[in-house]
């Protein structure tokens, strides 16, 4: 039941893009076409889950025992950068088809604040999910990371779908490009606000 609450909360109620404002740059940058949006979402999903797993372990077994939690930011960003590089190399060797689908997005992911944001959230924030406030354990962290990145994918795919239509419609000159996209995201965020309060 708690896992179910985590999933609903992370995908709909606290959607990472529309409610938490993480990962906006790639969200606006690659949502012009549905196909690239799906590719980016897949890559983000993969990296966020993997990065959360590794940073959780690094934090628990390295930073906390040594009492150097203040190095979290610097350690996590290094782990993420190294991880992305490794994923790129492994993917290139083992699965060229997956690499051609996700590969071009991978270098962009290191500086996607959604990855670092989720990793930091998991180890520094207490969550309630209906019960007592507590720090997430490893299983919950992974479910949270996966669900959050699915929420990212959902917002991305919905928005890319809208944007494909938007590109065909005529908008005033000053609105062209990003401004009209932002206003559209605003309306989308308003729709997602309907979920707020569903899961505490």
């Amino acid at each position: 039941m708690e896992y179910f609450l985590i999933i609903i909360s992370a995908i709909f109620v606290n959607n990472i893009v529309l409610a938490q404002f993480l990962g906006i740059c790639p969200f606006l940058g690659v949502s012009n076409k549905l196909s690239t949006a799906t590719g980016m979402s897949g890559a983000v999903c993969f990296v966020i889950t993997l990065a959360t797993l590794v940073t959780y372990l690094v934090n628990k077994f390295l930073l906390v025992p040594l009492h150097i939690e203040f190095l979290q930011t610097i350690a996590f960003i290094l782990v993420i950068a190294a991880l992305v590089q490794m994923v790129e190399i492994v993917l290139k060797k083992t699965s060229p088809s997956l690499y051609s689908a996700l590969g071009i997005f991978l270098p962009l992911i290191t500086t996607n604040c959604a990855v670092l944001g989720v990793a930091l959230n998991v180890v520094t924030k207490q969550f309630t999910f209906g019960g007592e406030a507590h720090f997430l354990n490893l299983g919950e962290s992974l479910v949270y990371a996966l669900a959050t990145s699915l929420g990212y994918g959902l917002a991305m795919v919905i928005f890319a779908g809208i944007r494909e239509h938007l590109s065909l419609s005529e908008v005033p000159k000053a609105f062209k490009g990003v401004p009209i996209a932002l206003v559209t995201v605003g309306i989308l965020a308003m729709a997602f606000m309907g979920f707020s309060g569903m899961v505490k």
Binding site: L18, A19, Q20, F21, L22, G23, I24, C25, L28, F70, L71, Q72, T73, I74, I77, L78, A81, T110, T111, N112, C113, V115, L116, G117, L120, N121, T124, K125, P172, A174, F175, V178, P179, I180, A181, L182, V183, V185, G186, I187, A189, M190, F192, M193
Partner: protein, 195 residues
């Protein structure tokens, strides 16, 4: 006008990080629930931007090309952690309000972007000037966006309330952030971006 002053001015309008370069959208949207919050976030970014620009321009000649990105990230992360420690010690209330978005300055594309595009190819003083210009441009954009959202959403400005009762709450919440930024960009495109 001296070249340094020119560099600072460029950061304001021609290279405005928010309205022209569209960088650092996440903190722009997330922390601008009021003018003061926007201003604090802008100044925090300015601090990291100036220091990391200076440090990177100093070490750039000796850093091998292959590892320059990781090295830059480590340098930026160091200044961000330094900022975190200082804020926890001397401005704990502000640190709490801005929360996650202080550590996330590490992945703010503005900082790495300026390191790559400017600091790695210019001297320490010029890089500092560039950092100040871009940082102030960012601060200005965040403060304006924060002020607009505060006026519409809470009926106050810099904490001073000019209507009794509530404003339009949607502007303080997530949708208002996107919509306000969209419209501010429209105004910027129409009146300031001439070239």
């Amino acid at each position: 006008m001296s070249s340094k002053a020119r560099l600072i001015l460029d950061g304001f309008v021609k290279n405005n990080p928010t309205f022209v370069l569209l960088l650092g959208m996440c903190p722009t949207l997330a922390t601008t629930t009021s003018a003061v919050n926007g201003l604090s976030m802008g100044l925090a970014t300015l601090f990291v931007l100036v220091l990391s620009n200076m440090a990177i321009s100093a070490i750039a000649p000796v850093v091998p090309d292959k590892v320059h990105i990781p090295v830059y990230i480590v340098v930026i992360a160091t200044f961000v952690t330094l900022l975190q420690l200082l804020m926890q010690a001397y401005t704990p209330a502000v640190y709490e309000t801005l929360g996650l978005f202080i550590p996330l300055i590490v992945v703010n594309c503005i900082v790495l972007g300026r390191a790559e595009a400017f600091a790695s190819r210019n001297g320490v003083i010029a890089s500092a000037a560039d950092g100040i210009g871009v940082g102030l441009g960012f601060t200005l954009a965040l403060t304006v966006l924060g002020a607009v959202r505060e006026i519409l959403g809470s009926g106050s400005i810099f904490g001073w309330k000019f209507i009794s009762g509530d404003g339009m709450l949607a502007f303080v919440m997530a949708p208002g952030a996107f919509i306000c930024l969209g419209y501010l960009m429209v105004l910027f495109n129409k009146y300031l971006k001439k070239e």
